[in-house]
């Protein structure tokens, strides 16, 4: 006679076993070697292995900052990155109506794990560490980190990196801007770290930091349109491999090759240069810090 407790114990063990097998990673059958044959088209227009068949899902942050986007509405096609995204979609065979935007925080996009987008465009610099977690497309923009401040602070007239050593600087967490502070400037006081550039800007306006580091176009936009008496102190020197922005895709995504090809096409036929001139025209002539 089997007691009732034995049944309960056996049932519990079965449930545990089922839960463990359910926690198995997703089937990885489709990371087959990419077809390199020239005869078959591995990037069928409008029919790629996207999250939703026939539609392209693009991710970006919320709020989406100027001059990369406009009015925090990525779907209006205005702003450098919005324009680039729609151009890439067009080369891949997706019309504007078939492009959907999703909101993904900056840090979540470059963290390991499956993604809710086909590619993400949000001023991501290509770094080796990030490449361990996600795929990058070919670069679409060469970026320089820039120190900005407001008129009258102690670094407003700094000319060299040594002048910044005693300053209290700030940057957004997880960005190459923050790494530029810790690797290049190496100030004597610990830099302030903020959740996003809005908080960093608020701290700069309040005077709780002397200056913040952002990329060059953002620096121009902030000092021109958002900060009162904003001043660009200077661009930080490029050390080693030049920093470039790339589109972020899921690790080993089947779309990486096609998206990279699309970006390369945009560069070769001059579209990227035209978009840069249209949306980032005012980003020229910033002083360089030595």
């Amino acid at each position: 006679m089997v007691s009732r407790n034995t049944f309960i114990a056996a049932g519990g063990a079965v449930l545990m076993l089922a839960a463990v097998t359910a926690c198995a990673p997703a089937d990885e059958g489709n990371d087959a070697t990419p077809t390199a044959s020239a005869s078959t088209n591995s990037c069928p227009a409008g029919a790629l292995q996207t999250k939703t068949a026939g539609k392209l899902t693009i991710g970006t942050d919320n709020p989406a900052y100027e001059p990369w986007f406009s009015d925090n509405k990525p779907s209006n096609g205005k702003g450098f990155e919005s324009a680039v995204a729609y151009q890439v979609a067009q080369r891949l065979g997706y019309a504007e109506a078939n492009v959907t935007w999703v909101s993904v925080t900056f840090n979540n996009a470059i963290a390991p794990g499956p993604k809710a987008f086909d590619f993400d465009i949000n001023e991501f610099s290509i770094t080796d560490d990030r490449k361990k977690a996600v795929d990058f497309s070919s670069p679409y923009y060469l970026v320089r980190q820039t120190v900005i401040t407001t008129k009258g602070t102690k670094i407003a007239s700094a000319k060299t990196i040594a002048d910044l050593k005693t300053a209290k600087l700030g940057a957004q967490v997880g960005t190459t801007s923050y790494q530029a502070i810790t690797d290049l400037i190496k100030p004597s006081t610990q830099p302030s770290v903020f959740n996003n550039n809005d908080d960093a800007k608020a701290a700069l306006v309040n005077g709780t930091v002397d200056g913040i580091v952002v990329d060059l176009p953002t620096a121009f936009y902030m000092t021109a349109a958002e900060l009162k008496d904003g001043v660009i102190v200077g661009q930080l020197p490029q050390v080693g491999v030049p920093e470039q922005f790339g589109l972020v895709l899921d690790k080993d995504s089947p779309l990486t090759g096609c998206v990279s090809t699309a970006v390369d096409q945009l560069r070769q036929d001059g579209t990227l240069a035209v978009l840069e001139k249209t949306w980032l025209a005012q980003t020229g002539g910033a002083p360089e810090l030595t």
């Binding site: 545990m16 076993l17 463990v20 926690c23 198995a24 990673p25 840090n107 470059i110 963290a111 390991p112 560490d129 990030r130 361990k132 977690a133 996600v134 700030g170 967490v173 997880g174 960005t175 923050y178 790494q179 610990q190 302030s192 770290v193 903020f194 959740n195 908080d199 608020a202 701290a203 306006v205 309040n206 005077g207 709780t208 930091v209």
Partner: protein, 282 residues
């Protein structure tokens, strides 16, 4: 009457032997079942198909070693801030609780102020309070504004002060009114009877809940990182962003638990002792 050393009877010896056998048997059974469960869990977890990837992502020893100093440096900020904020919040809570329990119509505005304070700061999320203090107050550009760490610490102190005030007020009101009456009838003034009779009992009664709030504050102190300073969790976040690996979060979590263990242990001991004292004689 035979005098001499007590000799247990055979029956008693039999009982002692039986109890010893039972004790050994239960220890062996406990060890066996723990071993079986441990082996089962180990096999299930390490045998799971995703285990290698989880281990790489969450339990990478080289990354843990590399970023431990940075996380410890952040934890030092947490510890210092916690000690200061805990002391200040306790003081603020005590003052507010005493003010709220003042009797007499002449003290109405004081009671009302204390009530408004506890109601509003218990309702306001701590994140909003920190944002208002650390970003709003410096924006006023007043002379002598302290730095953001002090402002953030003030936000945490004021928020937790309101919780502690309510806990202490509950403690004060749980002291039987006969205590106050007896103290007054002995000739002690209201202030003296509060200081010598009521408050000691109130704090003793409220100490488990108070210590619980303090343990909770220990973790909330990390929210200071919203304003810019780098605490343990922010250091772990920076490390995670740099390496695309979640091990730093595990390291920070383990450090926090280790840091909290002494306080949690003290809470348990104090609670037990208070319960034993209050129920003495039953």
């Amino acid at each position: 009457m035979t005098e001499g050393i007590y000799q247990p009877s055979d029956l008693q010896l039999g009982r002692i032997a039986y109890r010893r056998r039972q004790a050994i048997r239960s220890v062996l059974l406990a060890a066996l079942s723990t071993a079986v469960l441990g082996v089962l869990l180990a096999v299930l977890i390490t045998g799971a198909p995703g285990w290698d990837r989880v281990r790489e992502s969450f339990l990478d020893p080289s990354i843990a070693r590399e970023y431990l100093p940075a996380i410890l440096k952040g934890l030092w900020l947490n510890i210092r801030l916690f000690v200061v904020c805990a002391i200040c919040a306790l003081a603020l809570g005590l003052v507010t609780a005493v003010l709220r329990t003042l009797r007499g119509p002449v003290f109405f505005p004081v009671r009302a102020l204390a009530t408004v304070y506890t109601y509003s700061f218990r309702g306001l999320p701590l994140i909003i309070t920190i944002y208002l203090f650390a970003f709003g107050i410096p924006g006023l550009r007043l002379q002598g504004t302290p730095n953001v760490t002090v402002l953030g610490g003030a936000a945490i102190t004021i928020t937790y002060g309101s919780y502690i005030a309510e806990v202490l007020r509950a403690g004060i009101e749980s002291v039987h009114p006969s205590q106050l009456a007896a103290a007054r009838s002995l000739g002690l003034s209201y202030r003296q009877s509060m200081r010598h009779v009521v408050l000691p009992q109130a704090v003793r009664r409220a100490s488990p809940a108070l210590l619980n709030d303090i343990v909770s504050m220990q973790k909330d102190v990390g929210l200071i990182s919203l304003a810019g300073p780098i605490d343990a969790i922010r250091a772990a976040q920076i490390a995670t962003a740099e390496t695309a690996n979640f091990t730093p979060y595990i390291v920070a979590g383990v450090l926090f638990v280790l840091f909290a263990l002494p306080l949690i242990g003290i809470t348990d001991i104090v609670t037990l002792r208070a319960a034993r004292r209050q129920n003495a004689g039953t």
